[in-house]
């Protein structure tokens, strides 16, 4: 048993499950967006705004955003613990990643639900 305090889900299994579920959510969301783009060859700004203005799409986008943040953190944490052997550099790297994830999350919510 290897102890770790910085992974997302407190255990390897949680991280593993989180990464797989969020991957499915992101895949479905991406495929839907691709489908929407293909179905609307003459896409106008108003169509795009209308799509993102409806509540189900806002919920789906928020879900995708949260999934992206969780997925990104698990992935970056794995990369950091593989390749960054100096504890100081790894801590700094993870701090920067955490800051980015937080900023993108708040910024994304603001874009989706803000005035």
């Amino acid at each position: 048993m290897v102890a770790s305090i910085s992974n997302l889900g407190r255990s390897g299994l949680y991280d593993w499950v989180i990464q797989r579920i969020t991957a499915v959510i992101l895949a479905v969301y991406t495929l839907f967006l691709l489908g929407f783009l293909i179905a609307h060859p003459d896409l106008q700004y108003s169509d795009w705004q209308e799509l993102f203005a409806c509540t189900p799409m806002k919920i789906a986008s928020l879900l995708a955003l949260v999934s992206l943040c969780a997925h990104g953190w698990v992935g970056m944490w794995t990369i950091a613990t593989d390749y960054l052997k100096s504890t100081g550099i790894r801590f700094l790297f993870l701090l920067v990643v955490a800051a980015f994830v937080f900023v993108y999350l708040v910024w994304g919510i603001d874009i989706l639900w803000g005035a």
Binding site: M1, S11, G12, L13, T81, D82
Partner: protein, 236 residues
Amino acid sequence: MLVSIYRYNPEKDEAPTMQDYEIEMPAGKDLMVLDVLNLVKERDSSVSYRRSCREGVCGSDGMNINGKNGLACITPVSEATKGKNDKLILRPLPGMPVIRDLVIDMGLFYKQYESIKPYLDNNTPAPAIERLQSPEDRAKLDGLYECILCACCSTSCPSFWWNPDKFVGPAGLLQAYRFLADTRDTSTDERLANLDDPFSVFRCRGIMNCVNVCPKGLNPTRAIGHIRGMLLQREI
């Protein structure tokens, strides 16, 4: 045939070097890589490598043969040099400390093997005879018990290269599942609890290098998948 061998004596050499030997191959015979090494050894007795049974049972002569890990004693030269300009390049198994030439320090590999408690644990009173299994239960161990611990798989695994102190590695995990799958073992819960961290099992990214190199044709990736399944079932 040109044989290029990794030479390193940490007590004398500053850095490892590759040394070339031109070996006369007997006509009409397809030697094993170990036979070629023995011919080199006749010429230069300072070349060091491990060997014992010379028939793929003891797992001593695991090495990197033309870029792929394998057992020298059961790898024919023709197979190793296929499409490689008839040159044999021998290096130690990657990612482990080199003691000398092709001999590596297997300490961490054995430490990880030890960590999964590779023995039957049964807390019920011992019967007068052996603990018997049905043929079906015994069949669950096929493809698991055959591992000879040659370390070809673990030393071809990047996850093991980066975290040999934390990731159990394919060989250890194959054995972990061998005891998880054994109906005579009563420590399943403790065994699973010991593996449920971000490194021991879950550092496997499923790239299947282990399956690609296993000289016994075993499938550690599948065993790791079974362990993950058991961990998931335990939590849901």
